[in-house]
Symmetry: C2
Subunit: 444 residues, 2 copies
């Protein structure tokens, strides 16, 4: 289809081009538009039927959106924003540079302008910043027939018609009714008899992570957002939540790798932006690791008399770090999926303790045999290394399992207690254990 | 509500209890059921209206589902599985122990049994294993009025009625039409005039990760699944995909922490299961780190003459590991979100190279000053450490950015090229650089 489209564009066969475009999915059109130059983007954008053009527009990248708004007339801007869903318009305003925002704002109708200002004030990543105002509201005393007629009249302009919201004269949320229920019911059924009154809703200031949890728990298509007086102010639809679920995971993954999270993609970020997001943690962890170095300095005498001890340091440090980060990763993820709770802390400590006994026993036995056979050191050195390994693994697992819960209890983000921090702490402990045991067992 | 429910249950006020339950959301009922003993679970399960009971059942944990099926009569099992959505029944069969599966299977109707067998054969995590057969299909030559009447008749039994599928006499998928389009159109419109023919679909054997990508890209409510001859065999709905999106992220996170992914939650896994999922990688990485130890042994002479060099090993190893895993994490996540492509490899190498020059310069300068002022070593030792740090950071970043792409190119999972592997490789390189520079600069 793409080749055909490009050919028609090349030959300026605009009528055929329009017929082709009408058949295509708007996401696919947006994808092709991204690859064209601004002139051709405009040609296609203007050929498209108005409602498709708006849908395509909302799927374009910020850069392309900017280029188009920059190029089109004020009248076209007005048509575009009149047709855009409210949440898409707010997103647009948040992402465009000042001159483009100006061009948009002067084409927003008087009555919408105060609403726009109100929406722009919702905190980033709050339910308010995700919601849209294009929903179907119904009154409780109308019939199914009336409701269906209302949907027939206004349904095309709404972001979803599949869940309708029943509100009283003060816009207080009284219930919800699905289009499915409307369609399978008899014409004269009253909405009040059909609606569900045990409505699950969120507040404008709720964090998007909480909103995503509600969606996942109940499998909703859309969720009503209310203000402090339970008045309906907007709805959030599942497609926006899919993005949130992914964003939240990405954020956790970044934090776990000691990167400051960013909403920009890797490819679109500048090298200074990327460097800045990495350096804070690297610097902190570098300074922390310096203290581990002091442990080695403290045992310089031990090390001088048995330099071979130094050759086991990387193995000890890496294994301890990996063992600890396995535990912390499982707990951090469990916490953010809601599968692990703060009150489980003692269960987790006991669980990690038993796991570490098994894992430690296997790894240190293999290690003992390997050192004796391959490295051919004295038995006391092999024993020192293997015993240190065992103790360190036990410590790393229990500590790695415990720290994220403690962070969570202290209202800190558990994800910062991930591999890099655990590794740094566990490194120090492993070296301390190692040299202490060496002094004891080897008598140095 | 929960307290009220427990009180009514306690006092055996079953009629009031039923009235209360009818008002409640089924997910919330399931949540409360989980906390009751099997007897009370059964009481509530039997009080619930049939359709609610089935909905509640599908939200219960595997253990509770097993207990209930174990306790109820064959006749009740039959009613239950007749009402369960097909995909939920298949999930159930896949998770129950043999005796429960037997009890279920003998209550499946003759005509459904072969279908059940066919569904059980779809590979795990394929589109086929996610789909359900409860969809609305329409013929192209009927009118909107006929379609709406069909939905009114069968709509309650279907998993979704919001997207309807137009098929020909051989069940080949011809188009889709949304309930919104039906509701806003005039009664005598033909389905063929209303339907979208550019249908996006997946095949039964497509991986769930691919299916999730399609959902995220287009924001669909449901997606048709076809066989090799484009015959419609089922649909996948967005609520199942939300779980997939999260599962896929969890899987990546586990792999990045060197844990074998598991579908069981942390709290419900046995310690042997958890130990097994961790030990493979720990063992592999322990052996690999041993080789890093050999590098130290090779430079035993260097180390003996300047034991202080050993004290910088932890800082060098940790910083290099962290720098590398930052880069690899960003690329791994970018690849799985589709934001980074294999063809970007040279852009990434160049980008990481420039980032590492900045990050390396800042970290090694701070390090140089710190060693001179705090540790008060000779300038040549401070220079050796700082220069090694710089070179190692450059190597770690470029290598960390490159390896996941190479893995992806080789059709390996990029997530295995995460922190633990990168750390192990980068450790070796950092020590090699360090001792080589020490020999050169310190002349030992």
């Amino acid at each position: 289809m793409k080749e055909q489209l490009l050919e028609l564009l090349e030959n300026k066969e605009y009528i055929k081009l329009r017929d082709l475009l009408i058949e295509m999915n708007h996401v696919n059109i947006a994808e092709i538009l991204e690859e064209l130059d601004t002139n051709n983007q405009l040609v296609i954008f203007r050929i498209l039927p108005k409602d498709t053009a708006v849908l395509v527009f909302s799927y374009l990248s910020t850069d392309t959106q900017e280029a188009i708004i920059h190029a089109i007339t004020d009248k076209e801007v007005k048509t575009l924003i009149d047709e855009l869903y409210f949440d898409d318009m707010i997103d647009l305003l948040e992402e465009m540079p000042a001159n483009i925002v100006k061009k948009i704002i002067r084409n927003v109708s008087e009555e919408e302008r105060s609403l726009v200002n109100q929406f722009l004030k919702y905190p980033e990543n709050s339910a308010g910043s995700l919601m849209t105002i294009e929903y179907v509201d119904l009154k409780r005393d109308i019939t199914v027939k009336d409701a269906l007629q209302k949907i027939k009249r206004i349904g095309l302009e709404k972001e979803t018609v599949y869940t309708c919201y029943v509100i009283d004269q003060n816009r207080k949320l009284e219930g919800i009714v699905s289009l499915r229920e409307l369609v399978v019911s008899t014409d004269d059924t009253l909405i009040s008899d059909l609606m569900t009154t045990d409505v699950i809703y969120v507040h404008t200031n709720d964090d998007q992570e909480e909103v995503a949890k509600v969606f996942k728990k109940y499998g909703f298509l859309a969720l009503p957002v209310v203000d402090t007086e339970k008045r309906l102010v907007g709805i959030i639809t599942f497609d926006d939540i899919m993005k949130v679920i992914e964003e939240e995971s990405t954020e956790d993954i970044y934090k776990m790798a000691a990167i400051v999270p960013s909403e920009e993609t890797y490819m679109s970020s500048s090298i200074f932006h990327l460097a800045r997001n990495r350096i804070t943690w690297l610097l902190f962890l570098m300074i922390s690791a310096t203290f581990t170095g002091y442990i080695i300095r403290n045992y310089e005498a031990t090390l001088s008399s048995q330099v071979i001890l130094a050759s086991f340091i990387p193995m000890l440090m890496d294994t301890a770090g990996n063992a600890g980060s396995q535990a912390s990763t499982l707990i951090i993820r469990g916490l953010s999926l809601g599968e692990v709770k703060i009150k489980d802390i003692f269960k987790i400590i006991f669980k990690e303790f038993r796991i570490s006994l098994i894992v430690g026993l296997i790894l240190s036995s293999i290690n003992l045999i390997r050192i004796l056979i391959v490295d051919k050191t004295s038995f006391s050195i092999a024993l020192t290394v293997s015993l240190s390994l065992y103790l360190t693994i036990v410590f790393a697992k229990v500590f790695g399992g415990m720290l994220p819960i403690i962070a969570s209890k202290l209202k800190l983000d558990p994800a910062i207690m991930a591999s890099p921090i655990i590794t740094t702490i566990v490194d120090a402990i492993s070296l301390l254990t190692y040299f202490q045991l060496a002094s004891l067992i080897l008598g140095i």
